[in-house]
Each structure stands twice: as C-alpha cells, then as structure tokens.
C-alpha cells in the first residue's frame, strides 16, 4: 500500500477547454514524500486536538472552534501544496482537495446564512483564482498599463470576482488616457463604488437582509438605467462591465475564459443576480450554472459532481464521491471526522456495522501503519475509533519490527497505556529471548520484570544456576547481588538471590547466619530439589568448622533433608541421577556429627 501516490497524482478538471487531463508525475518519492510527511504529522496534531474538545460545551460555543480547526487543516494543505509546487514542481491533487474542503467549510461548518453566503462563496472563488493578481501585477508594472493586451482582462476579472476597489484602481489608468470620455469613466466608477455589499460586521450598522435587498435593487435599477440610456455605448468594454453588473448571463458567458470554471460562473451570477440567495436555493443555481457553462455533450468530471453534491448539501454524497474519485483516505478521513464532530452526519450504518467516520479513519490509519515511521501516528487514530479501533491496533502493533530496545520500549508503552497486556507480554518475551541468545542475562531479566513474566524469570535463573554448577562461580554478580524486590517475581529467582546471599555471608565469615539461610532454603522449599545435593555439599565446610555452627536441631533438619533426598521422594533430574546415598560419605559424616552432638 503506497500512501503517497494518491495524494500526488492529479486530475484537474473543470477547465474552460473541457477536456480532462492527468499529470503523470515522476515517481520520485524521495522528493515529495518528505513534504507529504509534514502533512500527515501536522494534521495528526490537529486531529488529536479536535478529539479532545470537550463534549459538554454547548454547540454554539463550539462552532467557532470547528471553523478554526477547519482553517487549520486547510492552511496545512495549502502549505504542503505550495511546497510540492515549489520544490517538486508537482501540481498535486491537493489543489482539488483544498477547493472541496473550503467549500465544505463555507456551506456545512460555518453554515453561512443568506446574505453572507454569497460573500463567503466569493472568498472561496477568489482564493482559488489567484492568477488575477499575478496578471494585474504584470499589467501595472508595464510601461503603459492601459495599453497592455491583458488590461481589460484584468479589469473584467476583478469585476467578475466582485473586487470593485481593485477594478476601479485599474480603470483609473484607462480614464487617464481618455480625457474626453472622463464623464463616462466617472459614471462607471461611481456605480462600482456604490455597489451595496451585505455586511453584517460593520460596526454600528446592522443591516437586515430586507434592507440590503432594497438597497441592492435600487442600485441595480440605476445600473440598468445607464444601460438603457446607452451611457456606455461608445466603449464596448465599459458596456460589458455594466451588463455584468446587472447580471446579464449572455455577457457573462462571453467571458468564459476569464471565469474558467462553472462554479466561478455560479458565484458571479449569484453576486449580480441573487445576492440574497438562501443556502437551500443554491443547488438550483448550481445545476443551471453548470449546464449553461459546460458543453452539454461532455460528461461531468468527478470534481464537478463533488462540488454539485456539496451545493445540494448532500454531505454523504460528497464523502462518497471523494472517496471514489480521489482514492485518498487522508482527505475524506479528516474531513468526515470534522463533520461528524459538527454533528452533521446522520449515523449511517454501513453493512459491516461501523459508521462512516470510523470506517474512513480505520482505512487511513491502516495505511499509515504500513509506513516504517508513521505507524506511531496511526495509534491515535485507532484510539478514537470506538468500535473497531482497538482490534485493529492489537493486530497491527504486533507487526511493528522491533529493531532496537528503544523502539520496543515505545511500543510496549503504547500497549501498556491501553491495557493490551497480551501484546506487552509477547513483546517482552521476544526481547527477553533475544537478550538471552546474546547472553545478556541482566537485560533478559529486565524484560521479564516489565512483563511480570514469572516463567521467563525462572528460565533466566536456571541459566544462572547452570552457569554456577558448570563453572563454580556466579556470573553477572552485579545483577544477582542487586535483585531487590524483583527477586520475588519467581521462586527460582528468589532462590538464586538467596543462594548468592548465602555465599556472601559465608565470604564475610558470618557462618551462623549463612547456615541458617542455607537450611531455610531447603526447609522452606525455596530451593528446587535438583539443587539440594549442591546445598548439602555446601553445608560440609560449615560442619567442618572448629566451632559448632549447626545446632542439634539444625543438624537433625539437615539429616532429614538428606533422607528426603535419598528416600525416593525427590524427583531425579537428568543430570543428577538417583543416587544411593546410604553409603555416601556425606551421609556417614552427618550421622557422625549428629551423634557427636546429641
């Protein structure tokens, strides 16, 4: 599964030419994957922040937060898009992604009402038609701007985007060239200046929709008068502008090239013909705009269908079409999640029981998990999929390769925090076995302690004891001498620690303490039977001391242990076959000593 590809391959559509085209991007992952990684990481940060918005806040307070989060996502997309363009020269699918997301933000999340709806849509169009400013800069920088071949394109483009101030600034250049037509230019300038804009945020002025509508109709009549009066008849361009201002659709369509997309055409239409359009009326105008603008014979592009579905406020259709057309889980996953938080998705039970949001996030996160480094991000996504997230995580986390201790620790920490005890144990066991193979007994023990794996701790202790029996000394004293409470993890480990303590006491010549300990190892059944012979042999030097170390009772106990060992009650081990100890020097000796004491 390649996670980069669907974000880079681009299909641009909706161009005035009408034919779709696909950029075949050179498969140079090294160039674009670092840029896309930033997208994944930054959006992960935003995603996690979104999940943690408190449920108990009233939705009125949450809307600005959701809008802000939507803008954060979009700015991350834009940054990534621009970098891809700059560094890799790729026009990526992120262009379409941001366009769609922005529209969804305007219509669904911000949910602009009639009046400000058109203004928001204008912003949307302006953001995605940045070439106007470039052209304008070029024209204005030239020697004689008014005579530049793109001059009128710039003026008209500004008008089409509702940017009257900029249009007027550029028109002034032309006016300067034609002093004779001063009056005409002044008239148009006046009309442009006076165009009413529905503005709810102007301080001290609250305008109702009706008030605005009245004002606007009044202004429109004035423009119409000028047309009827033939005030601009002598200048085709100025007359066209005037006709645009009254929303003349035929003239608008003459400027298809400047509009370049049917949705630009739609918004311009609305601006000049229906600025008080209600959200519920949008779809009608959207459909008609699309039909008027596009060649009726051409099949609508995927992008067009998606935008149309958005104008129809069919959120589910938008998501479905995006999933299919864009083949890209990042976008639909994050957008759907945000829309779900805005409570805009009705719970749609898909046939396998989960809901849409969760399905998309699971798909996205599963893709992330295949990446050698980004798997860590996927964990948070699984966390916020309540139905199946945990199951997915449990399955995937075991496949993360554990090349270093550091990485294993992080994976274990993730499992521990989610009470995935099985996975903790299995990872610790893998690491412990690895350590054991490399003869790192301390590391192996450390892993066993982490997993609270008594069985493995026993295994390690056996290794130590085998080493001791083979060599006669303990290896890794720094470990055994400092077991601390870990000693209690397994009986064998406890025995190891205590046995080593016996040796230490003996070395410090604390013989009676040593003797007591040695005996207790057998009587308290801490020592495995297989080791009793060794222990009894260890008792010999103590018995041989000049002073009496073992009391009579203790000696009896020693005898008892020996009997137990020889009487067949103990289980013979492969390396210590059953010995007949009746005539063993130890037995005779012990008997002698006990007789001498009693």
């Amino acid at each position: 599964v390649c996670i980069w590809w669907p974000l880079v391959l681009t299909t641009l559509s909706g161009s005035a030419g009408g034919c779709p085209f696909v950029h075949e991007v050179r498969k140079d992952e090294d160039i674009y994957s670092p840029i896309l990684r930033k997208l994944f990481n930054e959006s992960h940060h935003i995603f996690v922040g979104l999940q943690r918005i408190r449920e108990d806040l009233p939705s009125k307070n949450k809307k600005p937060q959701f809008v802000s989060i939507s803008k954060n996502y979009r700015s991350v997309i834009r940054a990534c898009m621009e970098e891809l363009q700059q560094v890799a020269g790729i026009v990526s699918i992120l262009l379409a992604v941001e366009l769609i997301w922005n529209l969804c933000e305007v219509l669904f999340i911000d949910a602009a009402p009639a009046g400000s709806l058109v203004l928001h849509l204008l912003d949307w169009v302006r953001l995605h038609k940045a070439d106007v400013d470039e052209k304008a800069r070029e024209v204005l920088a030239s020697e004689s701007p008014a005579e530049h071949q793109a001059y009128w394109d710039v003026v008209i483009s500004y008008v089409l985007q509702g940017r009257m101030d900029e249009a007027r600034q550029v028109l002034v250049k032309q006016a300067a060239l034609q002093p004779a037509a001063r009056v005409m230019f002044k008239l148009l300038d006046n009309l442009l200046m006076k165009m009413p804009i529905f503005n709810v945020h102007s301080p001290g002025e609250t305008q109702t929709l009706t008030e605005f509508d009245v004002k606007w109709r009044h202004w429109r009549e004035e423009v119409d008068h000028c047309l009827q009066d033939q005030s601009f008849a002598s200048n085709r361009h100025l007359e066209d502008i005037c006709k645009i201002l009254v929303g003349d659709e035929d003239v608008l369509l003459e400027y298809k090239e400047l509009l370049s997309t049917w949705y630009h055409f739609l918004v311009t239409r609305l601006l000049f013909s229906h600025p008080t359009v209600k959200p519920t009326e949008l779809h009608y105008y959207a459909q008609s705009s699309m039909h008027m603008f596009l060649d009726t014979r051409s099949v609508p592009e995927p992008l067009d269908s998606i935008l149309l579905a958005a104008f129809e406020f069919d959120i589910h259709q938008v998501i479905k079409d995006c999933s299919i057309a864009l083949n890209n889980w990042w976008f639909v996953g994050h957008l759907t999640d945000l829309l779900d938080h805005c409570k805009l998705l009705q719970s749609h039970n898909l046939h396998f029981g989960s809901n849409l949001r969760e399905f998309l996030l699971l798909e996205y996160a599963s893709g992330l998990f295949t990446h050698h480094s980004l798997w860590q991000l996927a964990v948070d996504y699984f966390d916020h999929c309540p139905e199946f997230g945990r199951v997915y995580l449990e399955l995937q986390i075991e496949r993360v390769p554990l090349d270093t201790e550091r990485k294993a620790l992080k994976v274990i920490r993730i499992c521990e925090q989610r009470q995935m005890t099985e996975q903790v144990r299995s990872i610790c066991k893998i690491m412990a076995k690895k350590a054991l193979r490399n003869n790192r007994l301390g590391s192996a023990l450390s892993w066993s302690i982490r997993a609270k794996d008594a069985a493995f701790a026993t295994l390690i202790s056996e290794r130590f004891l085998q080493d001791y029996c083979a060599k006669g000394t303990f290896s890794d004293l720094d470990l055994i001498d400092n077991l601390g409470p870990a000693m209690l993890l397994s009986d064998r480990l406890t025995f190891l620690g205590k046995y080593r303590e016996f040796h230490r006491l003996y070395g410090e010549k604390r013989f009676s303490d040593a003797a007591k300990l040695l005996l207790s190892l057998m009587t308290a059944k801490i020592a495995p039977h297989s080791f009793w012979m060794t222990l009894l042999t260890d008792a010999l030097p103590l018995l041989e001391q000049k002073e009496v170390i073992f009391s009579a009772d203790q000696t009896h106990e020693l005898m008892f242990c020996l009997e137990e060992l020889t009487s067949g009650k103990s289980v013979p081990t492969p390396d210590k076959p059953m010995q007949v100890l009746g005539t063993h020097p130890l037995t005779l000796y012990l008997m002698a000593v006990s007789l001498s004491i009693s």
């Binding site: 990684r37 930054e42 409470p485």
Partner: protein
C-alpha cells in the same frame, strides 16, 4: 501557538538535539544545533541555524524557523549525539558504530572523519551503542552489550575496553570528573567507574531500594560533582549524592512515562529540564529566596508532588540543597510545562544560555530563545 514556541516539521522522527557549544567567555546565545533522526529508512544527522541574534525583541519568541544548513546520511538510528568541539560531532548508532562527523563551515557540508564500526557488539550480532560523552579528545561510549569503550578522537584504535561492565543494557553515561564516569542501566543501577583503576569492576554501585526501574538518562550538576540527576521508565526524577551511599536524596514525580533526558542548566544549575515519552518537557526551577512554598503562590503553571527519601545532612539554604531536599517548604521548587499538550514523545532536549531546543516523535523540532532563567 502556545508558550511562544513554534514547531518546525522536519519529516523525520528526531532522537537527539544538541546545541553547538559557545565559548564560555562570550555572552553570545547559541545559534547552531545538530539533530539526529531515528526509525527512518534513511536516518541522518543535520545541522541547523536559528540565525543571527541581533536585537532581541520581547514579543518575537520565535524569530523565524530554524534553517537547515547541511545533512548527512547516518547508518542506523542516532541513539546519542554530542559535540566534540566546534567542528566535530560524535554519534552513537543503533548499529553499534561510533562516528565522528566534521562540519565544514565554509562549504556548509558534513563529512565522516572517523568511524569505529563495531564499537559495540554481541558475539554474533551488532549491539546498539546507546550513549556517548566527550571530553575532547577523549570519547566514552556505552552500549546494550554492557561494554564501556574509551576512544581518543585522534587515534585509530580503542584506548580501553571495560568488558562485561554490565549484565544489562547501559543506557546513558556522563562524566563525574575527568577520570570518572557514571553509567545507568536497564536494571536501575548507577555505577561509578574510575579509569585510573585497572580491571572491569565499578568503584561504586547505587540503586533504589524499591523496584529496580530501568534508568534512561543521567546528568551531573555543573558545579557540584557529586550531585547527579537520573530519570527512568517510571518518569520519576531522582537526585543523588554519590558520596552519601546507596539511596537517592530526593525522588519527585515528574512524568507519566519514560523520562528520556534530564539536563541541569550548564550556567544556572538552579534550573533543570526533563523530557518524556508522555510528550511533555518540564522546566524545574529552584530558588530559596521566598518563604512561601510554591503551591501557595498563585499564577504559575504546575506544582509537583515531591518527597524526600531521607532528611538531608546540613540545613543551609543554598541552591544546591534546594535540589537535595526537593521539599517545597525548605527551598522552592516549581515546574512549568514548556510545550503545548497532545504531543508525541519528546525524545531529546538541550539547553544553553537562554535557548532551548527539543525534538519529538511527531517529526518536529521546537526552539525557544527566551527560556526564563
């Protein structure tokens, strides 16, 4: 962005960040830092610049992003990174290699100056080299193989090997004196090693009496050679006096998971910094100027629970003892979170002068140029 700190996304998980040293005489703030990456198919070490520090303005906490100066491929995860001097960087690799890189200032390039490829190893495999510390030209490294290696930057071979120094993985090392080092391991022990002694035994072993929690980091107080701070798997901050026997002087709850690095501020040791798998970076501040314990004063971010393991010997109000008591009533100890919440693991930090840099598993670097010290 919270706390006036900006994220720079770098498309690689950052395992280590270190400031290039500035000469102690100059009052300059550091402007160059190095980073190492991990868990990538192609890991690298990189050199970054945060630009000229001209006139400092109080509101610009983040005057521009760090700029990448140069980068070099690194074999294996960068498990530790130290500046040997102004021009050379030593790295510890998960492949067991120890590498010296040279930074060429004129051409802004990096090159490999020396490589000890199997500095740390098991009999049949590689063993990760987990820590490196320098006192130019000497370099000391430790690894998961339980070995301690001593190199000289200008010599090809190995100066000294302490075989079987540890039966568990050694996670970090620091100099106590020029001839003494301190290591911490995965069974929670601190071991002092004296290079003047021959043989493979530590001169001292210290550990907590309770659970033997693996230790991941250690740092020595800049002025007091017997005071060290450690952090480990349980996120607790321990302050030890290595002269005073087998127990830490104070234990403080710091983080909710592994503490990866702990640093005393090199010139203001009343300040200490720690970072953790739980995504937080804490700034610990001691002062014994006030009588009121921190939790009774308003207007600060977080107060921490601290408890003393034993009562300290002596009771003077010096800054050093403030660390030793860890007790709010005697000294004054408060902590501040330096990063926004909801972060992935902060793997590394470094602090020099007023500047702090850290790196995370979220593939981001954070620089703060106005650390309040």
């Amino acid at each position: 962005c919270a706390n006036g700190i900006n994220a720079k996304y770098v498309s690689k998980k950052i395992s280590k960040t270190r400031w290039r040293p500035v000469s102690s005489s100059s009052l300059q703030q550091p402007d160059i830092f190095a980073t190492g990456s991990w868990d990538n198919e192609d890991n690298s070490i990189s050199i970054w610049s945060i630009g000229e520090n001209g006139v400092s303005s109080m509101d610009d906490e983040f005057e521009g992003d760090p700029q990448l100066l140069c980068e070099y491929k690194h074999n294996g995860d960068v498990l530790d990174l130290q500046f040997l001097d102004q021009d050379r960087i030593v790295t510890a690799s998960s492949t067991g290699a120890v590498t010296i890189f040279r930074h060429h200032h004129n051409s802004q390039t990096l090159s490999v100056s020396k490589l000890w490829e199997r500095a740390h190893h098991y009999p049949c495999n590689n063993a990760p080299c987990t820590g490196v510390v320098c006192n130019s030209p000497e370099i000391v490294t430790v690894g998961e193989d339980g070995r301690i290696m001593l190199f000289r930057a200008d010599q090809e071979g190995v100066l000294r090997t302490i075989e079987k120094a540890d039966s568990s993985a050694i996670h970090a090392v620091t100099f106590l004196r020029t001839t003494e080092i301190l290591t911490v391991n995965s069974i929670g022990q601190l071991k002092l090693w004296d290079f003047r002694q021959p043989g493979n035994e530590p001169s001292q072993i210290l550990s907590l009496t309770g659970d033997r929690v693996p230790l991941h980091c250690v740092d020595r107080h800049p002025n007091q050679q017997h005071i060290v701070a450690t952090g480990g798997q349980d996120g607790m901050l321990c302050i030890w006096d290595v002269r005073q026997g087998n127990m830490p002087i104070s234990l403080m709850e710091a983080h909710t998971s592994e503490m990866w690095e702990v640093h005393f501020h090199p010139s203001n040791p009343g300040h200490l910094f720690s970072c953790s798998e739980d995504g937080s970076l804490l700034h610990w501040e001691t002062s014994s100027n006030t009588d009121t314990p921190s939790f009774l004063q308003g207007g600060r971010n977080t107060s921490i629970i601290s408890r003393s393991a034993i009562a300290p010997a002596g009771g003077n109000q010096s800054l050093i003892n403030a660390w030793l008591t860890g007790d709010s009533s005697k000294g004054h100890l408060e902590t501040t979170h330096m990063l926004p919440s909801q972060m992935l693991s902060v793997n590394s930090l470094d602090v020099l002068g007023q500047c702090l840099v850290c790196g995370t598993d979220g593939e981001a670097i954070y620089v703060n140029r106005h650390v309040p010290i």
